[in-house]
């Protein structure tokens, strides 16, 4: 209840000011006059009431699905949920979650990023551990949000707390669960290669990321040469400088094809969108999968949801 009161006091438009009063700001405010008194806010209020009434039980893991996974790769989200449940966690999906603010932050729109960060912290307040299938979003929550909101009295503590609770999926399995695929009865009789996404830096090293895939029983792991080199996505970079970006993606895609692996494991929706799209344009037919999908499949959890089924569902 206290938490909600705090939000009532600090919430709303006032906290989003701070930027210069440009025309674009004014137009923005005109279009979204009271952006947070929306359905989401109302449902939020109900949720908190239920909390107090004890209707909703405490949850163990909250899934932060991320925008790209939500929209383009829902199967990854399903895989995360199933693996976590298989491991005995109760999974919740905070319904108010939207973007963590990374695109705004990386493009230099720090006022907007702070705004998005505040909403994001609100959405995950009251939940325990947070798991996300994206290294770059985890990076934003763990490293940049606390910095960005360091001077915001109402949210600085929340940002720091959330940073401590938030885990990238692979690292959650490795560090928190101490997942051992062999003991869990996993089997993955396929040849795989792994692309190390740039924003995993600061969360896990190349070696730490490799461990999960290498440890899968029956797997034929084929190391990718220069696996740590960027795939060329980089958010707006891929749209603003398509030529440079493409030169990078083409190299990445052809190196993946060279390994001859059936499955290219990528722990980041942005990377897989980029490399898969490039490979597809060049008529390569490697399957791209997220670590969560691979692990879920190795545990036999995805038999009712084939890889290409996203369109049909």
């Amino acid at each position: 209840m206290i938490g909600y009161g705090r939000r009532l006091l600090t919430d709303g438009h006032a906290s989003c000011k701070g930027g210069p009063q440009s025309w674009s700001d004014r137009i923005n405010r005109f279009i979204f006059p009271v952006p947070y008194l929306t359905l989401a806010r109302i449902s939020d209020w109900f949720r908190h009431r239920h909390h107090i009434a004890g209707v909703i039980q405490t949850v163990d893991v909250a899934l932060f699905v991320t925008c790209l996974t939500d929209t383009f790769h829902p199967r990854v989200g399903v895989a995360v949920v199933r693996v976590l449940r298989h491991l005995g966690y109760r999974v919740q999906f905070p319904p108010d979650q939207a973007c963590c603010g990374q695109p705004a932050y990386n493009n230099g729109f720090h006022d907007e990023a702070a705004c998005m960060g505040r909403r994001f912290i609100d959405a995950f307040e009251g939940y325990g551990l947070v798991v996300t299938p994206s290294a770059s979003c985890a990076n934003m929550v763990k490293h940049h949000l606390p910095e960005l909101l360091a001077n915001d009295h109402a949210y600085a503590a929340g940002a720091r707390a959330l940073a401590g609770r938030c885990h990238e999926f692979g690292q959650f399995l490795k560090d928190v669960v101490e997942f051992n695929p062999a003991k869990a009865g996993a089997s993955y009789p396929h040849s795989v290669t792994l692309h190390y996404s740039c924003h995993t830096r600061g969360i896990a090293t190349v070696e730490e990321t490799e461990v999960l895939v290498k440890a899968l029983p029956d797997v034929d792991y084929r190391p990718l040469s220069r696996m740590g080199e960027c795939c060329g996505f980089g958010g707006a970079f891929g749209v603003l400088y398509p030529q440079i970006s493409n030169a990078m993606s083409c190299d990445k895609a052809s190196r993946i094809v060279e390994t001859g692996a059936e499955v290219a494991v990528v722990n980041e929706s942005g990377c897989s969108m980029t490399i898969e799209g490039t490979a597809r344009r060049c008529a390569h037919t490697v399957r791209f999968a997220h670590v969560a999908e691979v692990i879920a499949e190795s545990l036999g959890l995805m038999s009712d949801y084939p890889p290409v089924d996203d369109m049909a569902r």
Partner: protein, 480 residues
């Protein structure tokens, strides 16, 4: 607006079309990265050494004026003369004046990016002086009337066939592609110059405040010739090159060569203290030290201060996936690559609006992959500083009205879960218009640049949110 910015796009365009250059750059940078990885292994806890190097540099920057005074006093005590130059013009004037006073005719130069920064060669040559670069790479650049494209490996964009043609054309030697023969040609030519030179100009890799010593690292020994053979030695030193004590130097020598070229130490590391004394067998009769500001104090007082920790090892250039595709010339400044994106605009611009307008592409043309941060021996967080520059662009409104409004609108929507869902719905329906067997081949502006080279997946029929609501959350209820 577009004409002001178009230079970068043009540079990138021509760089990407130059296949031979791209191959040369990618091969060399890849080789250097492998060499670095090997060289780093033989130091116990190399990352700790990087921390130390970063801390020493940061400390020096925090107390720069103190150390500058100490350094200047020591140089003078050792018989040298100290000059202070606020900008490129005054530095060039000071050096040209010295050359005129000393009646110099032939000047030999050690490789120095700082002299490139102030375009010293042009000024001296206009004054009638014969200036010869003595670093092999820089020598070739000078013969070809080109510009260096890398901080450490200036001819990274040329292959041996290019060099063979340049030597045949400019030195009048028989065409040969054999690197050794080519090097011997250069050596013979430079020996002759060394015999006749009367002025040596160098930069400095490090300047030791405690002793007033200048440290110059080279691999060819030309640094020693240039700083001992001529009667006069002028050292042009950026004020950020200082380190407090001699005992700090080994740390930097260790990280510099390992990071930049993968060597354990550069072949020559010369420590020069003062002019020739009576007891010395050789050395310059006159030593002039020019301490160059040229925008550095401004950076020192800005949020980009840590960029001055740079020791110009070139590791971030070798590591950068963008640099290895577009090469150094595309950056349009003296300092290319990730660090160049920061310091070129900051050092070369007259004011902040030029930083944000003329050089607006530089901070944007990065995927923020973080490889530069990973290899930087001075632990400069280049991606973070690039984001700060981007933020500065937003603040200065140099982003362009469409992009500015578009981004702001998109970010407002993405931040609120209601508008996020609305946007997602619209996008899902919209993108389906271009559906082609589950993929999209082309999209209208502004996404056309994305589909120019790659396909896009059609968004899933049901978003994860929807799946959760429809079935996933229920299956949990069943289990629990």
């Amino acid at each position: 607006m577009s004409s002001k910015k178009a230079w970068f796009a043009k540079n990138v365009d021509s760089a990407l079309k130059n296949e031979a250059q791209r191959v040369a750059i990618q091969q060399t940078t890849a080789k250097k990265m492998i060499a670095r990885a090997e060289a780093v292994k033989d130091v116990d806890r190399f990352d700790d050494l990087r921390d130390l190097a970063a801390q020493i540099k940061q400390h020096t920057l925090d107390h720069l004026e103190v150390y500058l005074k100490q350094f200047a006093d020591q140089v003078q005590a050792n018989g040298g003369t100290v000059h202070h130059a606020d900008d490129a013009q005054s530095a060039c004037r000071i050096i040209a004046d010295i050359a005129r006073r000393e009646k110099s005719r032939i000047c030999v130069k050690v490789k120095s990016m700082t002299t490139e920064e102030i375009d010293l060669n042009g000024v001296l040559q206009a004054g009638g002086l014969d200036v010869v670069e003595t670093d092999l790479g820089e020598f070739i650049v000078q013969l070809d009337d080109d510009r260096p494209s890398h901080i450490v490996t200036p001819i990274i964009h040329k292959n041996r066939f290019d060099v063979a043609r340049i030597f045949e054309r400019e030195l009048g030697v028989a065409y040969t592609e054999d690197p050794e023969t080519l090097t011997m040609h250069a050596r013979r030519h430079l020996r002759d110059v060394f015999a006749r030179c009367d002025l040596g100009i160098s930069g400095a890799n490090f300047a030791v405040a405690e002793s007033g010593s200048i440290c110059i690292c080279t691999n060819e020994g030309n640094g020693r010739y240039c700083t001992t053979r001529p009667r006069v030695h002028i050292a042009l030193i950026g004020i950020e090159k200082l380190i407090p004590r001699l005992e700090h130097l080994p740390t930097f020598l260790k990280v510099l060569s390992r990071s930049g070229t993968g060597q354990q130490i550069t072949v020559y590391a010369s420590l020069l203290t003062g002019a020739k004394r009576v007891s010395d067998a050789d050395g310059p009769e006159h030593l002039h030290v020019v301490l160059l500001d040229n925008g550095r104090r401004e950076i020192l007082n800005s949020e980009f201060k840590e960029a001055l920790r740079c020791i110009r090892c070139g590791a971030c250039l070798n590591a950068c996936p963008v640099f290895s595709r577009i090469g150094g010339h595309a950056y349009g400044g003296v300092y290319p690559g990730p660090i160049g994106k920061l310091i070129s605009p900051l050092l070369m611009s007259a004011d902040t609006s030029e930083v944000f307008e003329h050089y607006s592409d530089l901070p944007q043309a990065s995927s923020l992959c973080g490889m530069c941060r990973e290899v930087c021996p001075a632990r400069i967080d280049i991606p973070e500083l690039l984001i700060r520059l981007r933020s500065g662009q937003v603040g200065q409104r140099t982003v362009g009205i469409t992009r500015n409004l578009g981004f702001k609108l998109a970010f407002r929507m993405l931040g609120s879960s209601f508008w996020y869902r609305v946007g997602q719905g619209i996008m899902r329906l919209g993108l389906r218009l271009w559906n082609h067997e589950g993929w999209i081949r082309s999209l209208p502006w502004p996404f056309s640049s994305w589909t120019m080279y790659r396909d896009v997946r059609v968004p899933a029929a049901k978003s994860f949110r929807r799946l959760w609501r429809d079935s996933l959350s229920q299956s949990e209820n069943e289990e629990w």
